[in-house]
């Protein structure tokens, strides 16, 4: 297969970036998208040019490192698929493929296709945990959690922290990311105790980082490679407002 690649190149955080065009021949349909970029990079290096920098590690869709904006979609055209799981057989021969980094003020570009997602980290530092020390744990089966709830908790917990939800959202909102963690803990006895405080802190941090608000387009759910549901945003909002109401009552 042959492709024309238009790739965002940017030397560093301070440099001005631009699109560069690279024709690429003899691509195997069996290649994954990242293997195709490896193949391009080998050619660039042999021509004495700088290879395209992109983030990746596990290459099996679980570490959340890779995240490219491909033809206007986070992680490309396939649903429930991370960039590393995408294969060239999913593209048309001769196609022009546009590859960009995530676009969001809260994710500044570091180099080429790599962005700084430390804003996501700080949202977690604000409250994405249960306050329990090593040694404090009760026996595991002492607080049963019904299978249906447990399964729902799992569905929230599968977030890989890639940032596709932010990239998909016209407001660059991180609601789905924060909601998945908030919901995971709010639904179980272990996390319920501090649920209200947690939602307050995490939402506040989200705003501080410059992520936008939710305007219910559901683009995040559509493009989430793990299919995390926007129902969790509703759950987060409920937690948030009940926390507010609680505070007013006690004020």
């Amino acid at each position: 297969m042959n492709f024309t690649l238009k790739i965002w190149r940017q030397k560093n955080a301070n440099a001005k970036g631009s699109f560069q065009t690279y024709p690429l021949k003899d691509v195997s349909p069996e290649m994954s998208f990242l293997e195709m970029l490896d193949y391009l990079n080998n050619q660039l290096i042999s021509q004495g040019k700088e290879p395209v920098t992109f983030e990746h590690d596990c290459r099996e869709g679980i570490c959340g490192s890779c995240g490219l904006y491909i033809n206007g979609r986070p992680h490309g055209p396939q649903r429930s698929t991370t960039t590393c799981e995408l294969h060239m057989r999913d593209f048309k021969d001769g196609e022009t493929i546009v590859v960009e980094p995530w676009r969001s003020k809260a994710f500044p570009v570091i180099k080429d296709l790599i962005v700084d997602r430390s804003s996501f980290e700080r949202i977690m530092h604000a409250g994405g945990f249960v306050n329990v020390n090593v040694g404090c744990a009760p026996e595991s089966n002492s607080s049963p959690i019904g299978k249906l709830i447990a399964d729902k908790v799992f569905d929230a917990a599968v977030c890989i922290g890639c940032g596709a939800c932010v990239a998909a959202c016209k407001n660059s909102s991180a609601m789905l990311y924060a909601a998945a963690k908030i919901a995971q803990y709010a639904m179980i006895p272990q996390g319920k105790v501090e649920a209200k405080e947690r939602v307050d802190k995490m939402v506040k941090q989200m705003d501080t980082e410059g992520f936008g608000f939710c305007s219910n387009t559901y683009a995040c759910e559509f493009d989430c490679p793990k299919g995390i549901s926007t129902d969790f945003i509703a759950l987060m909002n409920r937690e948030f407002f009940s926390s507010k109401a609680c505070k007013q009552k006690h004020a």
Binding site: I45, D57, I110, G127, V134, A137, I160
Partner: protein, 639 residues
């Protein structure tokens, strides 16, 4: 002169740890604030240790090469985590878990360490549950378990096929909590390139900031390596592409001895190599062998579609050869059996280098939904990569490099032969002998990080309460930084034509062919020669574009590959000296009449610990004799 002292405490096996712990010295809370600890790596072991040490009140600095600690490769562990809870009333116990691990490791692990890992396993599960890790549950709300290879009880806790992810995210959350409290300072996007030794003790590290390219000095009273295994020595492996041996190797070069380097697990169920551009093999969890049946056609070269081969034309070779354990034999046995069938010409697929893993019977019996509930994400992953729907036709699988039982030698305190340098999780050697059982890795990493190291390290640090801050301006730091800078300059200066990946790929092939699933003396010697040749070529023809003072992924790769030549040579050296077959280490010269591994307990019941003697010199072998008081050494039979 290094003398190995395992420091295994006296007393009955079941009481060793509790008695020993009670005698360990402590650091009082006020003094803990004066003590700095460096942890390198943020997988289950590293992030667990860092958060536990932070909770205790130490000042902890943590490093990882990824942009976030949540991406460490523990995240990719699929099947589960073992614990001796006996929730199934199937007569499980700490002793039985210990015994299974000793046998599974083919009697090449330390009894005391293995028992301790089994002992803390229940605490690990309780702690994860308390942190909100969503393990699978049954309808009554209790935790569910499943079976794994090499055991006859159901003790594996799981979260679909994403147990590693869920355990790691739990651990990441505890790390975040400490970061927020200020006890832990996180340094992402750093490669650790050297250990700094002051007066014979580990006192710091040199790291490279992967964004700016600057070298940085960090000091501490103790250094903990939680840097994982070196399975990427095969190039194609189930590991993340960033996984590497460099941190552990820098410790080896500074005098930490390296144990059993040739013990490397080849996982039986990976998606086979599909094309030449591939740089990664994706694992299909061992848990699939609970319901999947492994087979090849009975007829050599049968090219019919799998679904067209009738029952009588199929050879369920694991069930045939090992009726007692069937498809759930341990990984080393399953891998060799697959290789044996493929080498004999019964393999399937275009290359003939794969076997079937078939769910037809399980789907017929339990229904597609039940199978989807258990393994949904794995089936999806398989379909995404291969384009084939495994609900409709069998998966094709083949063994791939996976986990390293070998690693830095540590004593009972998890300290290496360098005072103040600890190694935990996969980066040490201690608990899995010559073969690791499935779901024991998450268990060991978490046990080391949360429950063992925080106790043992205080004993060492109790002597450091008057030391004060370690300055990074001293000559030891200067010298270590200069060595690293020189090495980087040396690589940058070559200006050759070949990429680091190309060298890595060639190196991986040498290792796979000469030090893989089956080894012999001639092949191992040949392998070492080829590695020396390739290393020479590397230093005259490596190409690294760009500069070292910027984000440069080619430089990162080249630095890692440069270390792998030595890793590979030491693996071959170790495999060559071990004139027996045990666990994952299979020497053609030493097998039973039925082709099973043949141990030589009289001469090889020891840990081979290698001491570095310089880049070209042959490393020196130290032997730690293994004593077996609580298990009887038997031929490891799964028939």
């Amino acid at each position: 002169m290094i003398k190995l002292d395992s420091k295994i405490p006296e007393g009955p096996l079941a009481e060793k740890w509790s008695r020993y712990k009670a005698g360990l010295r402590l650091v009082n809370p006020a003094n803990k604030k004066k003590i700095d600890i460096i942890v390198v790596g943020t997988g289950l072991a590293g992030a667990g240790a860092a958060s536990a040490l932070g909770e205790l009140g130490y000042n902890v600095k943590v490093f990882c090469f990824q942009d976030s600690p949540r991406r460490a490769h523990s995240v990719a562990a699929q099947g589960g985590i073992n614990a001796a809870k006996n929730y199934r009333n199937d007569n499980d116990s700490i002793y039985r878990l210990f015994h299974d691990m000793m046998k599974g490791g083919d009697y090449r692990a330390r009894e005391a360490n293995v028992y301790r890992a089994a002992e803390v396993s229940n605490d690990v599960i309780d702690h994860f549950t308390a942190m909100g890790v969503p393990f699978a549950r049954d309808y009554g709300g209790s935790l569910d378990t499943r079976s794994f290879g090499g055991v006859q009880v159901s003790r594996t806790f799981y979260a679909k096929g994403q147990t590693g992810q869920q355990c790691l995210l739990g651990t990441y959350s505890s790390l975040n909590r400490q970061i927020a409290k200020g006890t832990v300072k996180m340094f992402p996007r750093r490669d650790m390139l050297d250990i700094v030794m002051v007066d014979g003790k580990a006192r710091g590290v040199i790291t490279r900031n992967l964004v700016s390219g600057e070298l940085e000095r960090h000091s501490a009273h103790a250094v903990v390596l939680a840097t994982g295994g070196y399975g990427t020595v095969f190039y194609l492996s189930t590991l993340g592409l960033g996984s590497n041996a460099s941190a552990a190797w820098s410790a080896y070069r500074k005098g930490a001895v390296f144990a059993n380097p040739s013990f490397i697990q080849i996982h039986p169920t990976s998606i086979p190599v599909l094309n030449d551009y591939q740089c990664k093999l994706t694992l299909m969890s061992e848990s699939l062998r609970n319901d999947g049946r492994v087979w090849v056609p009975k007829e050599k070269g049968d090219k019919r579609h799998a679904n067209e081969i009738p029952e009588e034309g199929r050879d369920y070779y694991l069930e045939r050869r090992y009726p007692a354990f069937g498809n759930l034999v341990p990984r080393d046995v399953a891998s060799r059996a697959a290789k044996e069938r493929c080498d004999a010409g019964y393999g399937v697929g275009d290359t003939g280098l794969s076997v079937y893993l078939d769910f037809k019977d399980a789907i017929n019996k339990q229904g597609e939904k039940a199978i989807r509930d258990k393994y949904g994400n794995l089936f999806e992953m398989y379909e995404k990569i291969t384009g084939i729907n495994p609900y409709k036709q069998p998966m094709r699988i083949y063994p791939a490099g996976h986990y390293t039982m070998g690693g830095l030698w540590v004593d009972y305190n998890l300290m290496t032969t360098i005072p103040g340098l600890y190694a935990i999780g996969e980066s040490n050697f201690s608990d899995h002998g010559a073969n690791r059982l499935g779901a024991s890795s998450l268990m060991q990493c978490s046990g080391d990080g949360y429950f063992i190291l925080p106790n043992t390290i205080s004993d060492y640090l109790s002597e450091d309460i008057r030391t004060g801050k370690i300055s990074t301006d001293q000559p030891a730091f200067e010298e270590a930084e200069k060595q690293v800078a020189d090495r980087i300059q040396k690589i940058m200066a070559v200006g050759g034509k070949e990429t680091a990946s190309s060298f890595h790929k060639q190196l991986g092939k040498i290792m796979w062919d000469h030090c893989g699933m089956r080894r012999d003396a001639e092949g191992l010697k040949k392998g070492m020669e080829l590695l020396i040749q390739l290393e020479e070529e590397f230093w005259s023809n490596i190409c690294v574009p760009g500069t070292d003072k910027e984000l440069n992924q080619e430089l990162e790769k080249a630095l890692k590959v440069a270390d792998f030549f030595e890793v590979g040579r030491l693996m071959c050296e170790d495999a060559l000296q071990r004139e027996e077959s045990c666990g994952a280490h299979f020497r053609e010269e030493h097998q039973t009449e039925t082709g099973e591994a043949k141990r030589n307990d009289a001469n090889f019941a020891f840990v081979a610990a290698w001491e570095y003697q310089g880049p070209a010199a042959k490393p020196k072998l130290h032997k730690e004799a293994l004593e077996f008081k609580y298990v009887e050494l038997k031929e490891r039979s799964y028939k």
